[in-house]
């Protein structure tokens, strides 16, 4: 028991608090407070000098009043005076008041800083700690400026007490977070890392937090912390539950420190040093093993602390994403938690599994829990848990289970909490689009969405269905039929009317043959909804009507009658009135030809990233998309769409020329999916329409190069005209490539010469050069033994379609290779069209009578036929924009496997074949390249962008080319090089 009993401190304060508590009404309370404030004010202003105790008491009362929610506008100076008291409790109250109440009142800050300075210099550890706490609590820039340089010194000084070190570490952390520029890095940083070895667990705990923050900005400076953290962690994890005395929490040794160490390790890639890595993996396994052991205590604190470490361990495993075994174990562990009786654990398991679902190693393992998760969605009583379940379903969705997941989510939507309906709607819409195999399922799904939760279906969702229907003629008839049926419902949601109105206006003719849905029926069905709808919808319907006049001339008279009605022509809403007037005039003045042109079917929309996805991400914040199987790419491409949202001012000023058709504001007939300014709309249609198909045409520079002489002395064309197919055994005759073939191939993506393969018997070297779509490769086969190889026959095989994509002509080599000798083989290569798989090189021979065979991948990848292209920033962006169909872009976000060195990266990109463009990317850290892949049949323009993130040790690579498989393939090839 402490030496004090409750309430002994300041009697006057206790009395005041009781008074307040006894107040029967808010008014009484305010009255009492005002009385007290007046009293304190008079004491402070009085002639009689107050002693320290009274000052402390009154300041404390003021603090109490403030904490009750009242404003305090005096007493600051008295509080500052308390700071210089030499009585600990007076000082303490002074600091408390300052940290709760002071904002950057500059006059006061100077005085406070003075007091702090004195206390820091006092060498009294309790005073120093108070001062450090105050700095951390206020954390303002002025204080940072005054003390940021001193605190590191205190932190690493040999004679600082442990408690001071702890406070200094966290105080520095706080200042660094607030204004990193103020904290000077220096030789102290190395000594901070060594605090991880400190005897005092409290010091280590505080230091880890600081290091974790500092190392994010300066990973290299703190690199040594990895091995120190691993050994510290290992000692904790393997210690008995009583070893750490007061740092053991409910039989769990140092849970806070463990969690922090695991957190620190997540700032770095897996340790390179095998011994360190081994030790770490052992730790991680121990934690996973302990989860299976019976608990040492029944207390929830025990299991919470233990599981806190477990979840942090799983986070680290996911962060590394390189140990399939651990990932699957983590997944199984989480699987157990999914059915745990503790709601907290179920929640965390669902949350954690979401990230596991995006790892290729554990995606399948996560999928096995689908039934449990669906069940959670249906039965959990807590909405936040249900939300996690919905997130996880979304994350684990792929082609194989999309129909099941979408239908479960739709079912859930009917009873879902209002708070999460919109999100579920977005998710369903995205999954339905992403995994739609047949688009009638997609259309059904979206219409179901509107039916079930029409209010929550945002514009993005119904715009999107219109885009897809417009772009895919195979689904248009089905869509028309389905919306027509949906509109039969007596009460259908307004969004349904919008979708129905638009689709029938475009494709109503596809179902007009059926007398049940003849033009007049369609019209009267739509018009029966008209009067119940909002202005925006009515405007859209008017556009549908004018489209009907074109599609179904027989409805013209009826529709003109509707337009002419007083309720339209003299409508109070200017938009509706204008449409009615203009459409009526258009229909009577224009000839059928003009009408047909003006009201022609909408051209396909240019493909872009789904705006629904962007919306979901806006809703959920960054990282929300990362749950998708290729979510990493989605998460980051968000900004491309998000960043260029037009400001309302451009929207409200459409160009005058567009006004003629009334294409304004609300969804216009010409392009409902783009209801912004008509000016923008025109740009959209004309610059990005199908006629402006993106492709990098040949530049003058290219034409020049194509006249260069081919590299080979003899005409490769003549040789290639007569390939030697007879020599090629079919792929079935040769073995599969050796397991490391891919790795070997990767080594040659960015270089042309080197050793392709080596074992005890044989070494194969490669030298190659490529120009335009032609290449020549020299293979050197070295016999490393002293015995002759017999029947030596290397052959090149084209698996699959490769024959039509790549012609490789080989020359025979001698059938015997003497011991220690080397033979050379020349290959002439012509790229006919783009290809994805490299040819195989099969080498067979007999060594000492035993047949040997070996299949490798020939280092010929599509990028070898790159022609670097220089271009100005403006051209680059123009082309980048042209290549904006989703499939033309491939993107990967990946961890750096090698140290991130700009020069090395540059060399690799040049080796890859593209030109490097300077001054294009606004961020000088990024790399931008361009080039053209030359094949005989076609040229493929390629643009690339590589964004290193040194802090996260990651890259993002984006490739855009005019051919979809090429983008993906290049992206995969290049991503493995870093």
């Amino acid at each position: 028991m402490p030496a004090v009993s409750k309430g002994d401190g300041m009697r006057g304060l206790a009395v005041f608090i009781s008074d307040i508590r006894n107040c029967k009404s808010k008014e009484a309370e305010i009255k009492r407070i005002n009385k007290e404030l007046a009293n304190i004010r008079s004491k402070f202003k009085g002639d009689k000098a107050l002693d320290g105790y009274s000052k402390k008491k009154y300041v404390c009362k003021l603090l109490f009043i403030f904490l009750l929610g009242h404003d305090i506008d005096f007493g600051h100076m008295e509080a500052v005076n308390l700071l210089s008291s030499n009585k600990y409790t007076e000082k303490q109250i002074g600091y408390l008041f300052i940290s709760v109440l002071v904002n950057s009142n500059s006059e006061l800050i100077r005085l406070i800083n003075n007091a702090i300075k004195n206390d820091l210099a006092s060498r009294n550890p309790t005073f120093m700690c108070l001062a450090l706490h105050c700095i951390a609590n206020v954390g303002s820039r002025e204080m940072g400026e005054a003390f940021a340089a001193d605190i590191p010194r205190i932190l690493v000084a040999g004679d600082s007490m442990d408690s001071v070190k702890q406070s200094a570490a966290l105080c520095l952390l706080r200042l660094y977070k607030a204004s990193p520029d103020l904290v000077p890095m220096g030789e102290w940083t190395a000594r901070v890392v060594h605090l991880l070895n400190d005897q005092h667990m409290g010091v280590v705990t505080a230091a880890v937090s600081l290091i974790t923050c500092l190392c994010k900005k300066n990973p290299d400076d703190f690199k040594t912390c990895v091995s120190l953290a691993v050994s510290r962690l290992s000692r904790i994890v393997s210690s008995a539950s009583t070893d750490l005395q007061d740092y053991t929490y409910y039989f769990v040794p140092a849970p806070w420190l463990s969690v922090k160490l695991l957190r620190l390790l997540q700032c770095y890639p897996p340790p390179e040093d095998a011994a360190v890595k081994g030790r770490l993996v052992e730790c991680l396994e121990t934690v996973l093993n302990k989860a299976q052991e019976p608990p040492k205590s029944k207390k929830v604190q025990h299991s919470n602390a233990k599981n806190a470490i477990l979840f942090e361990t799983i986070s680290l495993i996911i962060h590394y994403d390189s140990e399939p075994n651990l990932l699957v174990r983590a997944c199984n562990q989480l699987g157990q938690f999914l059915q745990h009786r503790e709601t907290n654990l179920r929640y965390l398991a669902l949350e954690s599994m979401c990230t596991l679902a995006s790892s290729e190693f554990s995606h399948e393992a996560v999928k096995t829990h689908i039934d449990t998760v669906i069940n959670a969605l249906k039965t959990e009583r807590d909405v936040s848990v249900r939300q996690r379940a919905a997130d996880l379903l979304y994350a684990m969705c792929d082609r194989s289970n999309a129909k099941q997941i979408v239908s479960e989510m739709l079912r859930y939507l009917e009873t879902a909490d209002y708070a999460i309906r919109e999100e579920i709607v977005l998710k369903v819409a995205i999954l339905a689009e992403k995994y739609a195999v047949d688009y009638s399922w997609y259309v059904d799904t979206i219409l179901n969405l509107i039916r079930i939760a029409g209010d929550y279906v945002s514009e993005e969702v119904w715009y999107r269905v219109l885009q897809i229907v417009t772009n895919r003629d195979d689904v248009q008839g089905y869509a028309a039929k389905t919306v027509f049926e949906a509109l039969q419902a007596p009460a259908c949601h307004e969004n349904m009317v919008k979708v129905g109105g638009y689709i029938l206006g475009e494709f109503g003719n596809l179902i007009a043959g059926d007398p049940r849905s003849s033009p007049p029926v369609q019209f009267s069905l739509l018009h029966s909804k008209f009067h119940l709808c909002s202005v925006a919808t009515r405007a859209l319907l008017l556009s549908t009507y004018i489209k009907f006049i074109n599609l179904f001339p027989e409805t013209k008279a009826t529709i003109q009658g509707v337009l002419r009605a007083g309720s339209q022509l003299r409508n109070a809403d200017v938009e509706l009135q204008q449409r009615a007037v203009e459409y009526l005039t258009l229909s009577s003045v224009a000839s059928t030809d003009v009408l047909a042109t003006v009201l022609e079917e909408m051209p396909p929309f240019p493909e872009r990233e789904s705006s629904i996805l962007a919306k979901l991400k806006r809703k959920k914040g960054p990282g929300a998309g990362s749950a998708l199987d290729d979510g990493r790419r989605d998460a980051s491409s968000n900004d491309i769409n998000g960043g260029v949202e037009p400001t309302p001012s451009t929207v409200s000023t459409p160009s005058p020329s567009a006004d003629l058709l009334g294409l304004r504001a609300a969804p216009p007939p010409a392009a409902p999916p783009a209801p912004a300014g008509a000016g923008n709309l025109l740009v959209d249609v004309f610059s990005d329409g199908p006629t402006a198909q993106p492709s990098l045409g040949p530049t003058p520079e290219q034409a020049f190069l194509s006249e260069l002489e081919p590299p080979a002395p003899e005409s490769p064309m003549a040789l290639l005209a007569d390939p030697a197919p007879a020599a090629d055994p079919g792929p079935e005759d040769i073995g599969p490539p050796i397991p490391e073939a891919d790795e070997l191939l990767n080594k040659f993506v960015c270089k042309n010469n080197g050793v392709l393969f080596e074992n005890q018997l044989l070494q194969i070297g490669v030298k190659s050069e490529f120009r335009q779509n032609l290449g020549r490769m020299y293979l050197f086969y070295g016999n490393k033994t002293s015995v002759q190889f017999q029947n030596f026959s290397p052959t090149v095989v084209h698996p699959g379609d490769l024959q039509t994509q790549l012609a490789v002509q080989t020359k025979r080599v001698a059938a015997q290779v003497d011991g220690g000798a080397q033979v050379q083989q020349v290959l002439n290569i012509e790229c006919l069209r783009d290809f994805l798989t490299p040819p195989l090189l099969s080498v067979r021979f007999r060594y000492g009578g035993a047949p040997q065979s070996l299949t490798l991948k020939l280092p010929v990848t599509i990028n070898k036929f790159f022609q670097p292209t220089e271009m100005a920033a403006q051209d680059f962006f123009q082309r980048w924009k042209q290549l904006s169909l989703p499939l033309q872009e491939a993107q990967k976000i990946f961890k750096a496997n090698h140290p991130m060195d700009a020069e090395v990266t540059k060399a690799k990109l040049l080796g890859f074949g593209s030109a490097l463009l300077d001054n294009v990317d606004p961020n000088p850290e990024n790399f931008v390249g361009a080039g053209i892949i030359q094949t005989k049949a076609l040229q493929v323009g390629c643009l690339l962008r590589l964004e290193p993130n040194a802090q996260a040790q990651m890259y993002r690579l984006t490739l855009r080319t005019s051919k979809e498989p090429v983008s993906r393939h290049l992206c995969e090839l290049l991503a493995q090089q870093f």
């Binding site: 409750k6 408390l96 919470n304 602390a305 806190a308 907290n344 009583r381 936040s384 990005d688």
Partner: protein, 187 residues
């Protein structure tokens, strides 16, 4: 258009492509993982203690407190101790009539935060001797001091019960001497 779905006229489906260089997701940008604030409030919605670890204006604080209290008080007993609120994660636990409530950033470890609350309760308990809400009302400054010894800037300073309490008790010894001789004329 549904009543809930009013959006700015500027919301468009497609954006005409000015090339805007993509940025890394914000979650990479040196994510802070720390506590934003801690609140203690009663079942009746009376705030008993508030500690803010990120500069927040007084007005905003009041708004956040009001909003969060409403959310937490509406939850039923067996529900999960974690909830997403604004861009934060809230970890809370009820001890008798008091709710202890921490707001952390999304990346932070929820369970360890829950135990952090518990450790704080243990510290209060040990100091006051089976602590109750009244102790915290009448000795609010002590509750702050204990919290400050335990957490600094939202990070755990020391998890050892002994070290934290030792620091507080030392101060009390100083205080008691003074308290004794000034008992006469208190107001």
């Amino acid at each position: 258009m549904g009543p809930a779905r009013k959006r700015a006229v500027g919301g468009r489906c497609f954006r005409v492509g000015v090339y805007v260089p993509p940025r890394f997701p914000a979650s990479w940008a040196g994510v802070g993982r720390r506590m934003r604030f801690m609140l203690l409030f009663s079942r009746q919605g009376k705030l008993r203690l508030q500690k803010w670890y990120l500069a927040t204006s007084d007005k905003e604080r009041k708004k956040m407190v009001r909003e969060l209290m409403q959310v937490v008080l509406a939850r039923k007993p067996k529900m999960c101790s974690f909830l997403e609120w604004r861009d934060l994660k809230v970890v809370y636990k009820r001890y008798a009539s008091l709710y202890f409530c921490c707001a952390i950033e999304g990346q932070d470890n929820e369970l360890i935060t829950l135990e952090l609350i518990h450790r704080y309760v243990e510290l209060l308990d040990k100091y006051f001797g089976s602590v109750c809400e009244l102790d915290i009302i009448f000795n609010f400054e002590k509750a702050y001091f204990i919290l400050d010894e335990f957490l600094m800037g939202g990070d755990v300073q020391d998890t050892s019960k002994k070290s934290v309490l030792k620091a507080i008790e030392q101060a009390d010894l100083l205080q008691e001497v003074r308290a004794r001789d000034s008992e006469e004329e208190e107001e």
